[in-house]
């Protein structure tokens, strides 16, 4: 199953990622270029290829044709080739699983994969912030962590590397993955924790964060598609500053959007967005007008004013979604109850230990005072057993937590599902928006043509307007087609991920139940043995014969 690079699962690349590889100072490739988007993309002098070759780690990799994405379909002179439009072969990304594997695998990076990607996070360090303007006496600093990777995946071109990253980088990674892998179930990243910097540097907080980061990266490494993403690889390998642009840079995007806005509002020229950009969800600041349009569209959809051309008709999907909502609800309940159970067991263990101590003290005291050494010895016996039992309760609990945590993990994962489904509905909305756009423009064209026919030859302006509109329609139609492909892609990702989710969930939950039951049995047996032994020994102390009936007499107090 070890493929060469051609065979591996990295079959989906987002152009968004590509464009983010440009340096900040570069003008936005699409905005600055009003002409046909194809010119911007096609040809050997492609903006992208050149920039790629020169400045980035990715440049080391050949820009292959097997890499699917919109740019490829564009390169092929605008017509959409069937074979490249197929959804990426997800199945290839998931190798056959060994179903008898009994370990829990949400974190196991090597489970079911014959290639290895192991990540550890170590060595937190405080780095003082330089150049910041600070109030007197306040030092600003941030924490970096050492990310160590060991892998034999060929696309990584190397087996062991370590880089330093800060939490902000992780946020960037997560954001970029969310953008590039719409429709996938992307593991949720650790929380940001907006707290004062004081708390940020407490040792415990840093340790918790370190552990959380390790867990998160491990989950990414376990995801059959994400583990091979360029984003992850860059994060793990690129030395120095993380070469991924944060995309939530609202300020600059607002600026970008604002530049567009007047032209869009006043209809000067046609603002032609590159389809790649067009199919991304309309984000605030990016394209205010489009945002308004989509809002209008979704309202329209809701009120049924215009019949949407595409409706979410995948009944199976809708059913599945409902079932998942049900699952999430019960999972949440079970997770809470599991937590309560663990806490209750913990408390029993604790008090058992305290009880043991109390009896030890009592026995010691009595012995020292010179009274009744016999029952003091018995008390000590029982006390020792209680302390042992207490230890067993604690151990049992620690293991139970590990097992039952699976419930909690999957609950966390549900959020990823929501996001993936939202990606889907957003994509659908985009398609629908373009459809309306096209329809609206076509109507305007009709009207104009009808009007110009009344006047012989038509006015120059009218004719120019008509041709402009026709141009716009063409562009929008192409965008619509791309949006449709994107939507179909996402649908397929959803479907495949759901399958994987079901399979993994069943396996993980089975292991959880198995492990939990074994733990409970094992420790209950141990505890029982401890007490049984004491009961046996203590029988002599209690003055009881083995015959229970005669013991009534021996209880005579006087």
């Amino acid at each position: 199953m070890m493929g060469s690079e051609e065979d591996d699962g990295r079959l989906y690349t987002s152009t968004d990622m590509m464009e983010s590889l440009t340096l900040d100072s570069e003008p936005h490739p699409f905005l600055s270029n009003n002409s046909d988007y194809r010119n911007a993309m096609s040809g050997g002098g492609s903006f992208f290829s050149s920039s790629l070759q020169d400045s980035h780690p990715l440049a080391a990799k050949p820009v292959d044709t097997h890499r699917l994405g919109f740019q490829d379909s564009v390169r092929s002179s605008g017509s959409l080739r069937e074979d490249l439009v197929e959804p990426p072969s997800y199945a290839d990304a998931i190798f056959a699983r060994d179903l008898s594997h009994t370990t829990t695998s949400v974190f196991s990076q090597t489970d079911s994969f014959s290639d290895v990607l192991t990540i550890t996070v170590t060595n937190p360090q405080k780095i003082p912030e330089s150049g910041a303007s600070l109030a007197a006496g306040v030092t600003s600093s941030y924490v970096t962590y050492l990310i160590n990777t060991h892998t034999n995946i060929s696309s990584y071109q190397g087996t062991d590397f370590s880089v330093r990253r800060r939490f902000r980088d992780v946020v960037t990674l997560a954001d970029r993955l969310a953008e590039s892998f719409r429709g996938f179930f992307i593991p949720p990243r650790p929380d940001k924790n907006v707290v004062e910097s004081q708390v940020m540097h407490k040792h415990e907080f840093i340790e918790n964060r370190r552990a959380a980061l390790e867990k998160y990266l491990g989950r990414l490494a376990a995801h059959p598609v994400l583990r091979r993403s360029d984003e992850l690889r860059l994060f793990l390998k690129a030395e120095g500053k993380l070469p991924l642009l944060p995309t939530t840079d609202m300020a600059s995007r607002m600026l970008d959007g604002a530049v567009n806005l007047p032209r869009q509002l006043f209809g000067e020229g046609s603002v032609i967005l590159a389809p790649q950009e067009a199919v991304q969800p309309a984000k605030g600041g990016r394209d205010l007008v489009r945002l308004f349009k989509e809002l209008k569209q979704s309202v329209t959809n809701d009120w049924g004013g215009t019949r949407p051309a595409i409706i979410e008709e995948d009944k199976e999907f809708l059913e599945k979604k409902e079932k998942l909502q049900d699952l999430e609800h019960h999972l949440s309940d079970a997770s809470q109850q599991a937590e309560a159970l663990v806490k209750a067991q913990q408390e029993v263990g604790e008090v058992m230990g305290e009880l043991g101590l109390a009896f030890i003290k009592l026995a010691k005291y009595e012995t020292e005072a010179g009274y009744t050494p016999v029952h003091a010895a018995e008390a000590k016996c029982v006390a020792t057993a209680a302390v042992k039992a207490s230890r067993f309760y604690r151990e049992c609990n620690a293991q139970s937590v590990r097992h039952l945590d699976e419930l909690h993990e999957y609950l966390g994962l549900m959020h990823a599902l929501h996001t993936a489904f939202t990606d889907r509905s957003n994509a659908l909305l985009t398609v629908q928006t373009f459809l309306s756009d096209v329809a609206a423009n076509n109507m305007r064209i009709e009207k104009l043509e009808a009007a110009s026919n009344k006047v012989f030859g038509g006015s120059k302006t009218q004719n120019r307007k008509i041709s402009e509109l026709k141009e716009a329609v063409k562009v929008t139609e192409e965008a619509r087609d791309l949006a449709q492909k994107e939507y179909d892609c996402i649908k397929e990702h959803n479907r495949a991920e759901l399958e994987r989710f079901d399979e993994e969930r069943r396996r993980d939950f089975t292991n959880m139940l198995r492990g939990f039951a074994h733990t409970q049995v094992g420790y209950a047996e141990k505890i029982s043995n401890v007490w049984a032994k004491v009961a046996e020994d203590a029988r002599g102390y209690a003055g009881r014969s083995t015959d229970a009936t005669s013991s009534g007499l021996s209880s005579m107090p006087n």
Binding site: A334, L341, V348, R514
Partner: protein, 415 residues
């Protein structure tokens, strides 16, 4: 183990040996049991009544068997009478008087109290001195009206005879004169052995109280665990419904198991309370009863010493008076005789307390050894049983869960 426990607490007490009762001929037999709590009255007036059954061969009693109905305040009356008239003896303790209002009539509280009262009666019945008490006889035989009269006639627990008031007055006088004479410190025994005993008792109470507190906590928490297991079982079953298929069944089985265990744990809660926590509590109360005896002894000692002092003083004065004012001497002589008598009385009282207390302490230690030994043994058995049951319950899941094909997706899994 159950039948054994019932034997111990049902009040069947084996015959006392002659040496214990001090009765020369034959063996005294007195067996008491407290049973059948019944709620009587209504509203604020409601209370619980208990059936007290007596079997005896003692001549003083009006027949070999008798059954009477008593309420808690009757037991309190008995306790106070015994305490008044048996200084130096450790009177068996009563269970707590008050309880949170809503809890007062809970089945568990009533059962716990019933048992404690049963133990109380039995300790009295088997005590070499107490079992002969007149008050006990009245308690066990008087009809309800007579009992009620006795109880209310008692009025204040602190009802004193006139001579007592006199004594109290004199005590105050002593204290004042002591202060005047510079003897501010309360007069105390200086016997080092007794000192050691006093400290032992005080510390013992602390240790026993701590053990009792922890045992109470354990009972509470094991019960809470039972409750949580039930909730856990329910939510797991629901989750199983969601999942469906073989995994769903696994969840359902786990939930069912948790349910079962929950039921067991909550049931065993009361048992654990009765065999473990209550006996420890009772011993704490007993130690507190010992402290009461210690206080009585201290008071008796003080009285004895003070009367001795004042008696000596008075005698000296008398001698002086005989020389100076022979006519007054007669009067004072009577006083001196009186006070001397009182002083001797006080001495005897004190010495009786010392004697009794010594025997009581020996009895206490023997009883404690035996009883605590049993309690600890029962506790170990109970925990062993509980753990074993727990293991058995979870174990039933294993065959199904260990199947390696469990959780494999089947086509058209509707989950």
């Amino acid at each position: 183990m159950e039948p054994f426990l019932l034997q111990r607490s049902a009040g069947g007490v084996p015959p006392l040996s002659p040496s214990m009762t001090g009765a020369g001929a034959g063996q005294s037999f007195l067996s008491i049991s407290v049973t059948d709590p019944v709620k009587l009255g209504s509203g604020v007036q409601a209370y619980i009544s208990y059936r007290v059954s007596t079997k005896t061969n003692m001549q003083e009693y009006r027949g070999p068997e008798k059954i009477v109905i008593r309420r808690f305040s009757d037991f309190v009356w008995l306790h106070e009478r015994l305490a008044e008239r048996n200084k130096g003896i450790v009177i068996p303790p009563l269970p707590e008087k008050s309880a949170v209002e809503k809890f007062r009539f809970s089945a568990e509280f009533i059962e716990v109290r019933r048992r404690a009262l049963d133990v109380f009666m039995n300790r009295i019945a088997t005590h070499p001195q107490l079992h002969m008490s007149e008050d006990l006889k009245n308690f066990l035989q008087a009809d309800e009206e007579a009992m009620e009269r006795a109880r209310s006639a008692e009025g204040s627990v602190f009802k004193k005879k006139p001579s007592d008031f006199m004594q109290m007055f004199k005590d105050v006088q002593m204290k004042v004169s002591d202060a005047v004479l510079g003897k501010d410190k309360p007069v105390e025994e200086t016997d080092p052995e007794y000192e050691k005993l006093k400290h032992y008792v005080v510390d013992l109470e602390d240790h026993l109280a701590e053990a009792q507190r922890q045992s109470m906590k354990l009972v509470k928490r094991q019960r809470e665990l039972g409750q949580v297991l039930s909730d856990f079982g329910k939510s797991v079953k629901l989750l199983g419904n969601c999942e469906g298929g073989s995994l769903g069944k696994a969840f359902a089985d786990l939930g069912g198991c948790a349910d079962q265990l929950s039921f067991k744990l909550q049931n065993k809660g009361l048992d654990l309370l009765l065999i473990f926590e209550e006996p420890l509590k009772e011993y704490v109360r007993t130690v507190q009863a010992i402290k009461v005896v210690m206080a009585d002894r201290a008071q008796a000692y003080r009285q004895h010493r003070e009367l001795t002092e004042s008696s000596k003083l008075k005698e000296l004065n008398l001698e002086k008076l005989k020389l100076l004012r022979p006519d007054k001497a007669g009067e004072v002589e009577a006083e001196v005789t009186e006070i001397k008598a009182q002083s001797d009385e006080a001495k005897l009282r004190y010495e009786e307390i010392v004697r009794l207390m010594e025997k009581e302490m020996v009895q206490f230690q023997e009883a404690k050894t035996r009883d605590l030994g049993l309690v600890l043994h029962d506790f170990a058995c109970a925990q062993a049983q509980l753990a074993s049951d727990t293991a058995d319950a979870w174990r039933t899941l294993l065959p199904y869960l260990d199947n390696p094909h469990l959780g494999e997706s089947t086509v058209t899994e509707s989950g």
